[in-house]
Subunit: 248 residues, 2 copies
DNA sequence: GATCAGCCTTGATCGAAATCAATTTCGGAC
DNA sequence: GTCCGAAATTGATTTCGATCAAGGCTGATC
């Protein structure tokens, strides 16, 4: 049965992010069993809200499959996405019992949950879970700061190119393909969601995508299927330092 | 002598942030002694760069006194500040040996340093240091995300008001004053630094400050000394939800 | 296969902030 | 006090992206 398949996948470290990214590599048998007993799954349809900002949240979770977004909304309705959750990303904050952001599934979403209290206890007893969580949080902080540069200083075209590059790179890493040359993928976000992420309006997003298409940087099939003929050309549009990076 | 005074301050937990915020409350005698032996101080003049992005960084540190900024710069010179480091904030990332950002002292700055290797070892041996660091990192992540909303969606006026409110609130908490009513403080940043933080130009910063002054929201004495006659009025300008917050 | 709704594109116009360009103010050194 | 230079202000103009406004495409439903 499906539930069992998933459980097996976990034992094999194939899928469950908490297991895979935070725990598995260093877990002992007892700890594995403990985690195994604590976890449960939830799935959401595309468009469903997982939690609203301010809601009570008595679990932590990690994304198994699908994509979710974190966003903040001002009273007058202006919204800014502050995080994109991909498989293996962590949701929820130990030591806080209300959600700080709206969490929305943008595709069909499966998460692996742990009730907060026992998870926190487990963190206490098993230091490397906390250590792994610290590493992940530091990575997220770096990502957030990179996004601050994008939001504060990049032009609309650079913003779009950057977002496409990030999505392309993620797909490339999944496919184990090289980062240069041709890349093909489907956009997991609507134009509106892209706009919310980039601090733009959906019209500007649409226009800039059209412009990149017109300039041959990307090719579009339908509204979501994208081909990047030359990844380097896209990277040149992002404004980022791309020439090999510093080696020191 | 000064050095000794500082050492005493640390023993008393009065000042050193790593001690005070991350460790002290739960540290045992041995751990205290170990930290005490590891630490050393550095001071920088206003305007001095502590480390350049990409530089090797073999220490972690925490701010004892003064203010530093974290910023990212694009090849063409556009820069975005991604963090403001106040006393007790942590600098450096365990598990990474090059700096990811430029760290610049904006006032005279004193930091308390620990060489990375032994600090990491200490983290291994003393779980609650890592736990405290996780809490601090999660706080920083929240702050970064709040800043993303500011950068992506707020108007220039709202940005200035938000920055002033943050600085005012910080000073207020130091003075144990209430958050409402009259607040007086000195700006620790130049207009240019404010612009880098807010994703604006320095001219726009100047114009908006003049506008807030003209509208009676703030009073200016010289270029840096600011009086806020009515804190609530300033908060109303930030665009943030301020009416008591949600209570659920 | 018609209808409809959600998503997307494109055009016209507007407006906020950037840019370019002088001054002015202020704080410190002498 | 005077002088100097950095920091800040202010004005004129431009520009990029927002806003307002029509449609167009596509896929689901009946």
């Amino acid at each position: 049965m499906a539930a069992n398949d998933q459980a097996l996948a976990h034992v094999d470290c194939g899928n469950c992010p908490i297991r895979h990214r935070a725990v598995c590599a260093r877990c002992e048998g007892d700890e594995l069993r403990q985690l195994e007993e604590m976890k449960y799954y939830r799935t959401y349809d595309a468009g469903q809200t997982v939690v609203w900002s301010g809601d009570k949240m008595d679990f932590v979770a990690s994304v198994v499959e699908g994509i979710a977004t974190l966003s903040q909304t001002m009273e007058d309705g202006r919204t800014q996405m502050v995080g994109l959750l991909l498989p293996s990303d962590f949701v929820g904050r130990p030591g806080r019992d209300t959600a700080a952001y709206d969490v929305v599934a943008t595709t069909r979403l499966t998460v692996c949950c742990f009730r907060k209290k026992p998870f926190e206890q487990m963190m206490q007893d098993t230091p490397h879970i906390g250590q792994r969580l610290l590493e992940m949080t530091l990575d997220e902080l770096d990502a957030a700061r990179e996004w601050m540069l994008l939001l504060g200083r990049k032009t609309a075209r650079e913003k779009i190119a950057s977002l496409l590059a990030i999505i392309a790179r993620r797909d490339a890493s999944l496919n184990l393909a090289s980062i240069t040359g041709r890349v093909v993928f489907d956009l997991p976000l609507t134009r509106e969601a892209m706009a919310d992420y980039l601090g733009l309006t959906l019209e500007t997003v649409s226009r800039q995508i059209s412009a990149l298409k017109r300039d041959g940087v990307i090719q579009l099939e339908g509204k979501r299927h994208i081909t990047i003929p030359d990844m380097q050309q896209l990277l040149d549009e992002t404004g980022d330092d791309t020439d090999g990076g510093m080696l020191a």
